[in-house]
Symmetry: C2
Subunit: 431 residues, 2 copies
């Protein structure tokens, strides 16, 4: 009877004989003992293979076994505080499943292109492994947050019929003879859905054919977009800050090991607690001016501006009421100053830039029509969207958070390309 | 001080004065009293507005208020077992937020095209509302299942570089001068990821440009695809049946009200308990032959065949070991009979057809190369995939479940188009 177990559960099998199925992560050998580091995707354990514990052939094979070969090791679970993970395996049987070819990723430095070309293997590395575990935990926390608050998940469509805001950053596909475009945001659909369910969110991939080649851009990225009926800008900011606090605190709680492996300074994340500072665009602009930065009032903030602003605070900062002109047509103008939009961007600390963008939507039918005309958009494409203002229009608001930017910030990564399993950029759709 | 509440939470406010913000769902009036049915996305409550309770103008307005107008009603929460939901609101204040135009969806019968053209409004209807709540619950249950079992979520890419299996059912897009295709399945990526994490799943939209215009086909649909290292066909079937049982039992538990509204015969769902019958393709073929059905041995099953087979059982049936020829190149042949593949399709009861397809993958490098050649596929496109067999290959298996088919079955729907918020078919990408 084999007692198969995952390394993550090894502590439940103290002093028992178990079998672990995995891959050879690393090896040290003396003449009489091999120390095999075995990983199984849930953890890493040191398997100690003494010359007397196994037959001679197996012992010889272990000596030569290449990295990433697959094997099953059976042995006694031995508690040892010196061992990584607190346990090691005193092996009495080794079954080699497959002898790997020379593994291309070695401890030496590799260039980014090389690693990205081998992304399917690079995922096995300790750091990438940790990042994607945190990504999973962030997604789980994000969903839990909205589920617990009674939001209904309403998946937005990926294929959209009209190029509402110009085709320059849209991916286009032939759709049985007509044209379809890949979604850039589910927001308009969420507005309609919020009128049916009160509180909704969508979560899926979104697409931008942006020619930007920066460390912050992907062509394919995941967004979570809540939308709430009977909600204004203030209510929206309340939810946004609660949401971010929840995610960060859960990751701190659940992913200690991963954050340690990523050498993340968690003291900075611990400060991410409500209330977050809320400043207006005007106040932010003044900060930039006072600091002597080269910023033109009325423009949107650039990356250096965002970094400067966020550096003034120890937690995310919410910048609200941007000039209506730099924001989308559906933003509701501030009744107190119609040149401003009731919008908010949340800037992450440590120079990670905007992680959330949102605001209150124009809920007045006539004003929305005016805006669509002003922006020279095709009215016909918005007929269904106008219905939301024809049949029981209510104040409503929402926001979108890009998952990859949140992962980059929480993991403390320089480049967004490591935050998604198989990144797609202007120069990469492989593997 | 207003005491705002959602209708779903109304029982916590018995004998208190609360405000509910919502939309007018229906209305009955006598000369002295209006019975307003108000919905807020979380539920429906009857608001009783007596002539003496509000000012004359408001009372008159309520008389004419069109369906789906938005309003806030304030009043005393009164327990009444005759009222739907067990509570009604004795109103002392009505604030009309927006008077709706004539609502296009009325209680009379509408054609499907009309309803689908108004999908953004149709979502507000009781039945559609119930379906999408069940959809959300199914997705939540599916994720919970794998999360609890220690699977890591690894999002597969949507943009894929090569048209591996012919371009006829692929959506294509220009990708900065080269071509990209929208994913049909994340499986190949999951196989690589399983070698890094042991157990993984992806969950996202997938795309098929199928010209089929049937009640089972969408061009855009969501799939959950688990993949496990060190797993064979039997282990795969174990997980698949546990997964389906878990989802169905959770929906029965959590969505009683929705299933009732959908008039679902839940006694049929209650029978969905392990173990599920497991029959081979050969056994299934014999069943069809014995029944005198027009089925050619060696072919894949058609919809009527699947219906006949599933009708022989009171729970999902797992059909394994199809002829290798009708299955994909990556399927591992059965060592006992190499003309058969180690695959499994799970057929839902009540004629809902295949909801899961999966199997054990070819893990031998040389045999996989042979298969790629046999199927005339471009070897270069599979170099990265072959790496999974170069570096520590292990037996592995997995499956995919289409969310929409599961929703159709569990909700008891005739047509798949109602199982997704904004369906996309060969003839529809609107709204």
């Amino acid at each position: 009877m084999k007692n198969e177990t995952y390394i993550a559960d090894i502590s439940q099998h103290k002093d028992q004989v178990v079998t672990v199925s995995g891959w050879l992560y690393n090896r040290r050998s003396s003449g009489k003992v091999h120390f095999l580091l075995v990983r199984d995707g849930t953890g890493i354990i040191q398997a100690v293979v003494g010359k007397k514990d196994v037959d001679e052939e197996t012992f010889e094979k272990c000596k030569e076994l290449p990295q990433e070969s697959s094997l099953k090791v059976t042995g006694l679970v031995h508690e040892d505080h010196r061992a990584p993970g607190g346990f090691e395996l005193h092996v009495n049987k080794v079954e080699i499943v497959h002898i790997a070819q020379d593994y291309p990723i070695t401890p030496k430095e590799h260039g980014t292109t090389f690693l990205m070309d081998h992304r399917h293997l690079w995922l096995r590395s300790s750091k990438q492994h940790a990042i994607l575990r945190v990504r999973h935990a962030i997604i789980r926390a994000a969903r839990d947050f909205f589920d617990k608050k009674g939001f209904t998940l309403v998946d937005a469509p990926i294929f959209t019929p009209a190029a509402c805001e110009g085709t320059s950053t849209l991916f286009e596909t032939d759709y049985f003879g007509s044209k379809a475009y890949l979604t850039q945001s589910g927001q308009l659909y969420m507005e309609a859905a919020a009128m049916a369910f009160g509180k909704v969110y969508c979560f899926g991939p979104t697409f931008r054919a942006e020619k930007s080649k920066t460390r912050r851009h992907l062509t394919e990225f995941w967004m979570i977009e809540p939308e709430m009926a009977y909600c204004d800008l203030d209510g929206n900011m309340d939810i946004a800050e609660e949401f971010i606090e929840y995610i960060v605190q859960r990751i701190l709680e659940e992913n200690k090991e991963e954050l340690k492996r990523l050498e993340r300074d968690t003291s900075k994340l611990e400060k991410v607690q409500r209330p977050f500072p809320r400043i207006s665009y005007d106040e932010a602009a003044k900060m930039l001016k006072d600091a002597g930065l080269d910023f033109v009032y009325g423009d949107d903030f650039g990356a250096p501006d965002e970094t400067y602003i966020s550096d003034q605070f120890d937690r995310p900062v919410m910048v609200h009421r941007y000039p209506a002109e730099v924001k989308a047509f559906y933003m509701k103008p501030d009744p107190a100053d119609s040149t401003k939009a009731l919008c908010v961007d949340v800037l992450a600390p440590e120079g990670y830039g905007e992680i959330i963008g949102g605001g209150q939507r124009e809920d007045d039918y006539d004003k929305l029509i005016e805006k669509i005309k002003e922006h020279d958009l095709p009215m016909e494409a918005f007929e269904w969207y106008l219905d939301v203002r024809r049949y029981g229009s209510v104040p409503h608001a929402g926001f979108g958070m890009g998952i990859e930017r949140a992962v980059a910030w929480i993991c403390g990564l320089k480049h967004i390309r490591e935050t998604i399993p198989f990144p797609r950029t202007i120069s990469r759709i492989q593997p």
